[in-house]
């Protein structure tokens, strides 16, 4: 019995097919301009007919098309992280345009959650804008380089627009861009830490989403929470995996 999950995010769309034990197929693509169409194409490209469960901010558009069920990205991440790391206490997900923290109970159910406000502060988008402002060709380079930055520099604003102008004025003052980079990453972690504290952090913490691929974010997060941080092999697939797993649950109930 196979089940597919599709996580339609603002920056990427992830697809996972699972039999409940293994991931038998997966893909991550850029969302592009027409998320609904892109997602439909991915679903249509499945090698065999499997029930699809959609999650992510584009989930409702999928519901009207190819997806049989929808669940929120909160539940999806809880299910996915719980499967990869049984006994996980908290999930931190930093995606393209949102950030969420989910507290899990002993059975892996959602006990509480927090999401960032409507702006892009502290999300993947934020880092993307800052990478551009500091002249990096990619977020990957930005993350890798910032890892070697020295602590001490501070960015006081969380707002993408203000933080960018702060960063630019630090450049003009001659501050090493690796230090500025580190400070910008630290501000993302501060934001995440604020959310984590609001739900109360239960160890261990699972870190998911595209930002978990960024070594500087990971390093600073470890330092900040002073506890174990578990990172899935492919952190961008966790939501889609959770959606696929929930599709199996639905089947079992029927």
């Amino acid at each position: 019995m196979l089940s597919a999950g599709i996580d339609i995010g603002s920056r990427t769309i992830a697809l996972v097919v699972t039999d409940g034990k293994e991931i038998v197929q997966s893909a991550v693509v850029d969302t592009g301009f027409d998320p609904a169409k892109k997602a439909a194409e991915m679903a249509a490209g499945l090698t065999q007919a499997v029930p699809v469960t959609a999650t992510g901010y584009g989930r409702h558009s999928a519901k009207n098309g190819f997806a049989g069920h929808v669940i929120t990205e909160i539940k999806a991440h809880a299910l996915g992280a719980g499967r990869l790391f049984p006994g996980a206490g908290t999930v931190l997900d930093i995606g393209g345009q949102d950030m969420k923290v989910i507290l899990l109970d002993a059975k892996g159910n959602v006990e509480d959650f927090q999401m960032n406000d409507k702006c892009a502060a502290g999300t993947g988008k934020f880092l993307e804008v800052m990478a551009g402002a500091l002249g990096y060709g990619s977020v990957e380079d930005f993350g890798r380089d910032s890892l070697t930055g020295a602590p001490g520099t501070r960015i006081s604003s969380m707002c993408t627009v203000f933080a960018e102008s702060e960063a630019v004025s630090l450049v003009h003052r001659g501050t090493d861009r690796r230090d500025i980079g580190r400070a910008l990453h630290a501000s993302v972690i501060e934001r995440a830490f604020g959310l984590i504290q609001r739900v109360g952090c239960a160890a261990p913490l699972v870190f998911t989403g595209g930002a978990a691929l960024n070594p500087c974010v990971v390093q600073l997060l470890r330092e900040r929470i002073k506890g174990p941080v578990l990172i899935p092999g492919d952190p961008q697939l966790v939501g889609a995996l959770g959606a696929a797993l929930s599709g199996l649950e639905n089947k079992n109930q029927q």
Binding site: Y57, T72, I74, K75, N109, F113, M115
Partner: protein
């Protein structure tokens, strides 16, 4: 709207162009939020009233004024409607539930202020609300700081009678409030030119009680499962209560309740079996602010009660009808209002107790605390609510939002996740 009301609008001083823009925004929203609901009870009267919101009802107010009657506008459920009616006036709750005239409002108010306050100022300065323009006087109160100070500004454009609402509920505060109610009576008599008598007051107490009882009857029916009416429709009725003709409205609500009773006997509901039952609490949701209820019910839950000023706080508790003197009536009226659980009081423990009691009576699965942005009293009090509900094991979701639509997707995710969590 059926008739041609442009002449009337012009004569009461509306800015017709701006008013047209407002009217264009309203009907589509109403159709989408209300008319797509399945299995609605007979809401024709209320749909009609909304449809005629700037038409027939305004015409009635104008006719009343032509006969020498006065119209008094209010912004808070602390204003005793009984007194206004006893002096032959009509009491209108001014809505302030939509972003309008912000540019004008921001000329006199700071940008970061509660949208409700910005809205009423915007309505007045942009001259788009026919109710506002029909008012001979409006009544302000010293509840939150934002409103209190904004009324000083509003007084430049329309006479404002400010009621001092105390901040605590001790005996000396109750005394102060009784004095305020007495002064209000004098103020209303002056504006209307009519004396309030023991008889006219007794009659209006009965009439307003009748309205409250009808609304309480409606609320009581929602304790049933399945709920015979949606939360959105109930909210709409509670919003209409603030400006419709009291006796006609009372009759119509009671007629609706007859139908709902029949539904309850037959087990007819408005939602799928097992839908989570939600109570909303927080700041007022003034017409046409249906944003959060629309998301909640659109996500498969049913709202069974509103612990809001456009909800239970408006109609809970009646005023005793037997009274020996004017003095005594004024005292019992004042006391009824002092029992309202508004976050402008400290402490406001009555509200927490009420919520726990409601959750039990209405068999609620969760409570959604919804506050307008920049509203200190409710946003801060959310902490007290959360603490109490946690102790009692009642799940709660906290939302802060305004009249804009940008955060709808985000709110929907949070609300759906909350429903998944409690489901």
């Amino acid at each position: 709207m059926s008739g041609d009301y442009r002449k009337m609008w012009e004569s009461i001083g509306l800015d017709l162009e701006a008013h047209d823009r407002l009217l264009q925004a309203l009907p589509p929203a109403y159709g989408e939020v209300y008319l797509t609901q399945e299995n609605r009870p007979a809401m024709d009267y209320f749909d009609f009233v909304v449809n005629e919101i700037h038409g027939l009802r305004i015409q009635e107010l104008q006719e009343h004024k032509a006969r020498g009657g006065k119209v008094i506008g209010t912004f808070c459920v602390f204003v005793p409607e009984e007194i206004i009616r006893a002096a032959g006036g009509i009491c209108i709750g001014l809505c302030s539930g939509i972003e309008i005239g912000s540019a004008q409002a921001e000329k006199v108010l700071p940008r970061s202020i509660c949208p409700l306050i910005k809205s009423f100022m915007g309505f007045k300065l942009a001259r788009v609300c026919p109710y506002f323009e029909s008012c001979d006087m409006v009544v302000g109160e010293t509840t939150c700081d934002g409103k209190k100070k904004a009324f000083e500004i509003l007084n430049d454009y329309v006479p404002v009678h400010v009621l001092e609402v105390p901040q605590m509920k001790r005996e000396k505060d109750r005394l102060l409030w009784r004095g305020e109610v007495g002064d209000f009576l004098a103020g209303v008599e002056e504006v209307t030119g009519n004396r309030v008598t023991a008889e006219s007051l007794a009659r209006s107490v009965r009439e307003v009680n009748g309205k409250r009882r009808a609304l309480a009857r409606l609320a009581g029916l929602r304790k049933n499962s399945p709920a015979p009416i949606s939360g959105k429709d109930s909210l709409l009725i509670e919003q209409i209560a603030m400006y419709d003709d009291v006796e006609r409205f009372t009759l119509k609500v009671n007629q609706l309740c007859d139908e709902l009773e029949k539904r309850v006997r037959e087990g007819v509901g408005v939602h799928r079996p097992g839908a989570p039952r939600i109570i909303v609490t927080g700041t007022p949701m003034a017409i046409p602010n249906w944003k959060v209820p629309h998301i909640i019910e659109g996500s498969g839950a049913v709202i069974v009660a509103e612990e809001l000023c456009t909800g239970l706080r408006y109609f809970e508790n009646t005023v005793p009808e037997e009274s020996e003197s004017m003095e005594q009536s004024l005292g019992t009226i004042a006391d009824r209002y002092m029992n309202i659980n508004c976050a402008c009081f400290t402490p406001n423990t009555g509200r927490m107790e009420k919520l726990v009691q409601l959750a039990e009576e209405y068999n609620a699965d969760g409570i959604i605390h919804c506050s307008l942005s920049f509203c200190d009293p409710y946003m801060i009090e959310a902490n007290r609510v959360e603490k109490m509900l946690k102790e009692k094991g009642i799940p709660m979701l906290k939302i802060e939002t305004d009249y804009g639509q940008e955060d709808v997707g985000q709110l929907r995710t949070r609300i759906e996740a909350f429903l998944e969590m409690i489901g």
